[in-house]
């Protein structure tokens, strides 16, 4: 009896301990999802989680108004970011933040500690006038920026700034902690090819040959391309016109309408792209911000301006393909920024929902994270820009005036490792990782595809057929099916030959006997009749049973 008592006390203690362990389970703070083969949103595991959020104070911008500091600019220099539009991670691992509202460029290290803040830009050689939005000619205040929208830094720490309201691109290098010396300026191209009056540049990218690519939202012929010396080279990689019903109708009208009528028709023009990024191999990636654009939403362009994703991508739909309407406002995907990591992952920022969509180099959707509840960490109000370093993803919010760092979770790490092996063709090596992914999210599309390919390579054709069915991948299924069919044929070849041989012999014997009159037609008829009778009886009995069952109830 005593033994029993001790046992029961022990059991109770054990139970208490186990109950105390349970709450230690981590719960994701956000609902995350991914898309399956039918483009249905499925609940999924979080691939990224927020590591931290930094605002102007955390960066150390208070030092700008502290006279004792080396970063001192003036007494009333604001210590927060203001409507910041862009930031950039330089090849030397330093962040450059275009602080648009405060007309300055903030430079920090990877942990967002202040390194410099450029407010003054001496060295401008030319007095220049530009035409502003209301048509007045104004003189550029050449020594300062006026709402810088974009920033780019090359490996020699030469800074390129899209100085929007001064309508110029500035090329400069650091001089002191608060100023940068201008090396060159790129103004509105004085050529008939450039039709727009203004030059409101918003984004800038520079390639290895120091060609400068500039986006102006008013120009839809592509990015404006300058040589290093500042001369206009041409346009780069324009989008195509999205084919809609209206475009087709206009095209038909053009064939039959008179010239006056044609003049009154609206021109079908392509949409300009909103932002771009350049990867370490020199390919330029662009995104188009128009709601639910399906043509050229995301492009990867070679130096000639051709979109190579047309050939290499498995998928050409980006962002959420559905739009939602609340209180009369329609919310549709607006892709505002793109950032390509060193591993080739393509991250796309959706301005509307504040979500980041991560794709692999073949544009397969990997992870979706972030959302638009700005009160919560990891939620965004005006997500303006996106950057990546290693596995981290940084999002700049222009309303909250802060930068959020996302880090990979265990799930995201498995996905990344697996997809990298998968895309290099190491399907079998990726198998275990895909299994780990499937343990955490059984509906994860790429894991099903990866498992199917791995099983096919391991000669498990039945398994490959099962998983390619689950991932709705007809071509992969067909490959596995062909192999499995061949295998069964090879294994049972003698059996099949014997069966066919026997059937042929049987046919000839029956024919021969029929000819001799050994099997009268009546016999065949009675045999058939018996089979029919048996079927009839079976059917009747089944019907009776159903009837009885119905009455019994």
């Amino acid at each position: 009896m005593k033994f029993r008592k001790i046992l029961s006390v022990l059991l109770v203690a054990l139970m208490a301990v186990s109950v105390m362990i349970v709450p230690a389970l981590a719960v994701d703070p956000y609902t995350t999802y991914s898309y399956d083969a039918w483009d249905n949103a499925l609940p999924s595991q979080a691939g990224y989680e927020v590591i931290n959020t930094v605002n102007g104070d955390d960066i150390g911008l208070w030092q700008l108004s502290d006279p004792t500091s080396e970063f001192y600019i003036s007494e009333n220099e604001p210590s927060t970011l203001s409507d910041s539009k862009d930031f950039f991670l330089s090849p030397n691992k330093e962040f450059y933040i275009a602080d648009t509202g405060n007309n300055r460029i903030v430079k920090t290290d990877l942990d967002f500690n202040l390194l410099a803040c450029y407010k003054y830009f001496p060295g401008s050689t030319s007095k220049h006038t530009v035409v502003d939005e209301s048509g007045n000619e104004i003189e550029v205040d050449a020594d300062e920026l006026k709402s810088p929208y974009g920033v780019f830094v090359d490996e020699d720490d030469v800074i390129y700034i899209a100085d929007r309201d001064n309508q110029r691109v500035v090329k400069c290098v650091e001089e002191t902690k608060t100023s940068a010396r201008i090396l060159n300026e790129y103004y509105r191209p004085e050529t008939p090819l450039y039709e727009s009056v203004s030059f409101y540049c918003t984004k800038v990218v520079v390639d290895a040959a120091k060609n400068v690519y500039v986006i102006c939202p008013a120009v839809n012929k592509g990015a404006i391309m300058f040589s290093d010396s500042g001369s206009f080279v041409g346009y780069y990689g324009a989008n195509r016109v999205e084919v809609t019903a209206e475009v087709i109708r206009n095209k038909l009208w053009r064939k039959i309408a008179s010239e006056q009528q044609i003049a009154s028709l609206t021109k079908s023009t392509p949409v300009e792209y909103a932002n771009f990024d350049i990867d370490k191999e020199g390919f330029i990636y662009t995104v188009t911000e128009v709601a639910n654009a399906s043509t050229d939403a995301v492009k990867k362009m070679n130096p000639a301006g051709y979109n190579i994703l047309e050939r290499t991508a498995d998928n050409n739909e980006f962002g959420d393909q559905v739009s939602a309407t609340y209180n009369g406002t329609t919310y549709a995907t607006r892709l505002t920024d793109i950032a390509v990591s060193d591993d080739g992952f393509i991250n796309i920022l959706d301005y509307t929902t504040g979500r980041v969509f991560q794709y692999d180099e073949r544009c397969n959707l990997l992870l979706i994270f972030g959302f638009d509840q700005e009160e919560q960490r990891g939620g965004f109000n005006n997500p303006n820009a996106l950057e990546t370093y290693g596995n981290n993803v940084y999002v700049l919010d222009g309303r909250n005036n802060d930068i959020t760092t996302f880090g990979l979770t265990e799930f995201g790490q498995y996905v990344h490792d697996a997809i990298q092996l998968h895309n290099r063709g190491f399907y079998e090596e990726a198998y275990d990782l895909w299994q780990e992914v499937l343990k955490r999210d059984g509906g994860y599309y790429m894991a099903l595809v990866g498992t199917a390919k791995a099983l096919y390579n391991q000669d498990d054709y039945e398994g490959a057929m099962k998983y390619s069915k689950l991932s709705f991948y007809a071509d992969e299924y067909d490959k596995a099916f062909e192999a499995s069919r061949q295998e069964t044929l090879r294994d049972n070849f003698t059996l099949y030959v014997i069966i066919i041989f026997l059937l042929v012999i049987l046919y000839f014997v029956v024919k021969y006997l029929q000819k001799k009159g050994k099997i009268p037609k009546k016999l065949i008829a009675t045999a058939c009749g018996k089979v029919v009778d048996a079927c009839k009886n079976a059917a009747v009995s089944v019907v009776d049973k159903i009837k009885k069952g119905g009455k019994g109830k």
Binding site: W38, M465, S468, K469, F472, A474, D475, Y477, D478, F481, E482, R485
Partner: protein, 211 residues
């Protein structure tokens, strides 16, 4: 040849003797309406079979969970019915000899190769890879065109037309089918609105009485 065949033997006879089969059938006043309706049911069944079954690579849609029987019902039974009605009404105007019963029977009999081709190719798709899709396509195409040829001769024999007249009547039959289906859709939407109107009045009265 002796033409004392059982009703179902007429079906095979007609299929394998397209040029004279239907003439024989007309001469002997053979052909059964029961068998015709059974064939139409088989047409419906084979359509269901080919949409819901088949090898995965050939028919991925069959493996999604959404299945609506209405389009298939329209594509088989409704098309057959409108064809018969439209053909009869047009050929009556064009001095055709066939009555509606005969149109129904001859049309149904000539559908058999299509049904067989459809079912066979679907069954075969379980054993074929995409590279061998030529067999799949060949069988369904042979079934389809065999049925088309049978249909031409069936209509020719049914109404005792020349070839040109047969083609003209068949094309106008298709036009008539489109017309009938359009009118049907119109009537249905109209009745829908009438129904909604009366339903609204009913609920309105109900509310008045209650309050």
């Amino acid at each position: 040849m002796i033409y004392d065949m059982k009703p179902w033997q007429w079906v095979t006879h007609v299929i394998f003797h397209p040029t004279e089969g239907f003439e024989d059938m007309r001469w002997k006043k053979a052909g059964s309406l029961k068998i015709s309706f059974f064939i139409v049911f088989l047409l419906f069944a084979s359509q269901v079979f080919s949409t819901r079954y088949g090898g995965f690579a050939y028919n991925t849609r069959a493996y999604s969970d959404v299945f609506n029987i209405m389009p298939i019902l329209v594509q088989s039974v409704a098309y057959y019915g409108t064809w018969v009605v439209s053909n009869w009404s047009i050929c009556t105007l064009f001095d055709g000899e066939g009555n509606m019963r005969r149109v129904a029977i001859y049309t149904a009999y000539s559908l058999v190769p299509f049904i067989i081709g459809n079912t066979l190719s679907t069954a075969l798709s379980y054993f074929l890879t995409l590279d061998e899709s030529i067999w799949y396509n060949a069988i369904s195409m042979i079934g389809l065109w065999w049925s088309v040829i049978l249909m031409v001769f069936a209509m020719k024999a049914c109404h005792q037309y020349s070839f040109t007249m047969t083609f003209v009547s068949m094309i106008s039959t298709v036009a008539g089918m489109v017309l009938i289906l359009c009118l049907l859709a119109l009537i249905m939407s109209l009745f829908q609105q009438v129904y909604v109107f009366f339903a609204t009045i009913y609920t309105e009265i109900l509310y008045r009485f209650r309050s």
